[in-house]
């Protein structure tokens, strides 16, 4: 059920400010694509255009095409709510619903879609928590608030919540930046498992992480401060890290970059 994404000529704006400029790329199904680049280069913004979350920020605006298999996410008549159900997202800081229990957090998306049968919810919650490698840690306290878990557990809870609705694509916006190294490792392992079922796009500031988890890597940069971010190149991760075709990429990766 993983899907391929084709982006062409995509621009995103915050009010009058253009945040990313004319991005085109393809993202392969059942693979992990990492976005790297300096802060403020628009990689998170770009990620949020892939499930139409960009437009919920005040002043956010997008033009261009994002094809999910053959359907344009920004086509006329497309419902952003339906898009977000198809393209799941995990955020930088773990954000379980504070007023819900662990169980309810995972079941939240399903309940939205109208399944209320207790037995089915139970099944899916267990499967999703297992899928997020969290089941064994929480199975005895499913009715406790999700905010009582550790940061790493909370993040895996959010991943479980995202995969419970069986999306086609999973977007991750620096999912490990608020976590300690052990929890980071757990999430990275999980990404490796999840990519067999989902198309995964991950934004990361950690170059080693990009090298470890991704199949393909995209490097973003901005021409100057105040200018919009651009896609510099996208290629097999190995090539990006060993022999990139653009000088700027090599400079950034080897740390020779302002």
């Amino acid at each position: 059920m993983a899907k391929r994404i084709d982006v062409s000529g995509l621009n995103a704006y915050y009010g009058a400010h253009k945040a990313i400029d004319d991005i085109s790329m393809s993202i392969e199904p059942r693979s992990v694509t990492a976005f790297i680049g300096p802060s403020g280069c628009g990689k998170s913004t770009f990620l949020r255009t892939l499930n139409r979350m960009h437009e919920v920020t005040p002043g956010g605006r997008v033009d261009g095409k994002v094809l999910l298999d053959d359907e344009d996410l920004y086509g006329p008549g497309v419902d952003p709510v339906a898009v977000r159900r198809t393209v799941g997202m995990v955020f930088q800081r773990p954000n379980p619903f504070p007023t819900m229990s662990i169980f309810d957090n995972v079941a939240a998306g399903l309940r939205l879609n109208g399944s209320h049968k207790k037995s089915r919810l139970k099944d899916v919650v267990e499967k999703s928590l297992r899928g997020a490698n969290l089941w064994n840690e929480v199975k005895d306290r499913l009715n406790k608030p999700g905010s009582g878990l550790s940061g790493g557990q909370q993040q895996r809870l959010c991943i479980a919540r995202a995969i419970a609705v069986e999306p086609q694509v999973l977007l991750m916006d620096e999912p490990c930046s608020a976590l300690d190294p052990i929890s980071t490792l757990a999430i990275e392992d999980l990404i490796g498992e999840l990519k067999e079922r989902f198309t995964i796009v991950i934004v990361t500031h950690n170059m080693q992480q990009a090298a470890r988890v991704s199949d393909r890597t995209a490097f973003f940069n901005l021409a100057a401060v105040g200018k919009p971010g651009k896609l510099i190149e996208i290629d097999e991760t190995e090539r990006i890290f060993s022999n990139p075709s653009v000088q700027a990429t090599e400079d950034y990766i080897s740390g020779r970059f302002g």
């Binding site: 005040p58 997202m89 955020f91 007023t99 939205l112």
Partner: protein
């Protein structure tokens, strides 16, 4: 700049003093004394309020020839004073409950409108206007209620009577709409700005990431509000409502101008009559002698206790919700 002057002003304390940890400078002692003294004065005032109100109330109740709690009359003069708070308690509670039933849903609606629905350009001026409206004195609401609202409600009441008069509660015999229900409506309008303003503040504080979590699951706007905004804001809305309820219970002038009081408990809320604690004090005060004033003080004490109970209940509800509030997650 302040630092340098302060340092040059005060000579460095001797080492022994700073190590002892209890350096008692006169300045510190005076300042602590002053500020602690203020706190103590506040406590003394509270204690005095309770004590004196109780004392005068005991004087009044011991002179009451009828049951203070159940009597349907207020006659605190003469040799056979007979007065009771039954009507007042009934009227106060009923009008405040009506007010809250109308005001809280509407206020939550407006607060959501301002925080999540209104066009951005409109939202912050609207919030500002609501804050200003919260400051309009209650006597102005009273004046408007008596001279504008009352004449406009007769038609509505007649209509309600036609369709719902059979319930008894909503029957209406005509005449000026100076009833407990009108009081409830006016109180609702009066507490609307304050409840809205506090609720809006809470809704705006909902962390963006909770809302985005719901959005990313494919929630519609309403579902986002139901999943993340309302649960987060619930205790805030409760305390806002209690604030409003406190005002409604103790409101004097808006009731005194609108209600046409009597000392009967009628089944119909639309027909004139009834009374509230505060309204009764205001309208009976000018013709009361010392004993009559004591009687009014006794009823005021009951009002005080009721508002205390309401506030206490609010605090309990909020404390119980804290575990799930996630305010500092």
């Amino acid at each position: 700049m302040d630092f340098t002057t302060s340092i040059s002003d005060t000579p460095p304390p001797p080492a022994t003093r700073s190590v002892s940890g209890k350096a008692v400078r006169p300045g510190d002692r005076i300042f602590l004394g002053l500020s602690r003294g203020s706190g103590i004065i506040l406590l003394v005032v509270m204690a005095a309020i309770a004590a004196f109100l109780t004392y005068r109330s005991v004087l009044a109740i011991s002179g009451d020839r009828a049951n203070f709690l159940t009597t349907l009359d207020w006659n605190a003069t003469g040799t056979e004073p007979k007065f009771g708070i039954a009507v007042l308690a009934f009227g106060t509670v009923v009008s405040s409950v009506i007010a809250m039933l109308i005001a809280v849903p509407v206020a939550v609606g407006i607060a959501l409108f301002i925080s999540h629905y209104a066009p951005r350009k409109l939202a912050s001026p609207l919030g500002y206007v609501i804050d200003l409206l919260a400051a309009v004195p209650s006597i102005v609401y009273g004046l408007w209620g008596a001279l504008f609202l009352v004449p406009h409600l007769g038609g509505l009441y007649g209509w309600l009577n036609d369709y719902l008069g059979w319930t008894g509660i909503l029957s209406y015999g005509g005449g000026a709409a100076r009833s407990l229900f009108t009081v409830g409506i006016l109180l609702a309008i009066m507490v609307l700005p304050i409840v809205t303003s506090v609720s809006r503040e809470v809704f705006l504080q909902v962390p963006r990431m909770h809302e985005e979590a719901a959005l990313a699951l494919g929630a519609t706007r309403w579902e986002v509000i139901r999943m993340s905004v309302l649960p987060f804001g619930r205790s805030g809305v409760i305390s806002a409502s209690m604030l409003g309820l406190g005002r409604a219970l103790g409101e004097t002038m808006a009731v005194a101008t609108v209600l046409s009081p009597n000392f009967l408990i009628g089944a119909s809320l639309l027909d004139p009559g009834g009374g509230t604690f505060a309204q009764n004090i205001a309208s009976k005060f000018s013709e009361a002698d010392t004993f009559g004033q004591d009687a009014l003080i006794a009823s005021g004490l009951v009002l005080f206790v009721i508002t205390l109970l309401v506030n206490g209940a609010a605090r309990l509800i909020i404390a119980r919700r804290k575990e799930y509030s996630g305010a500092n997650s």
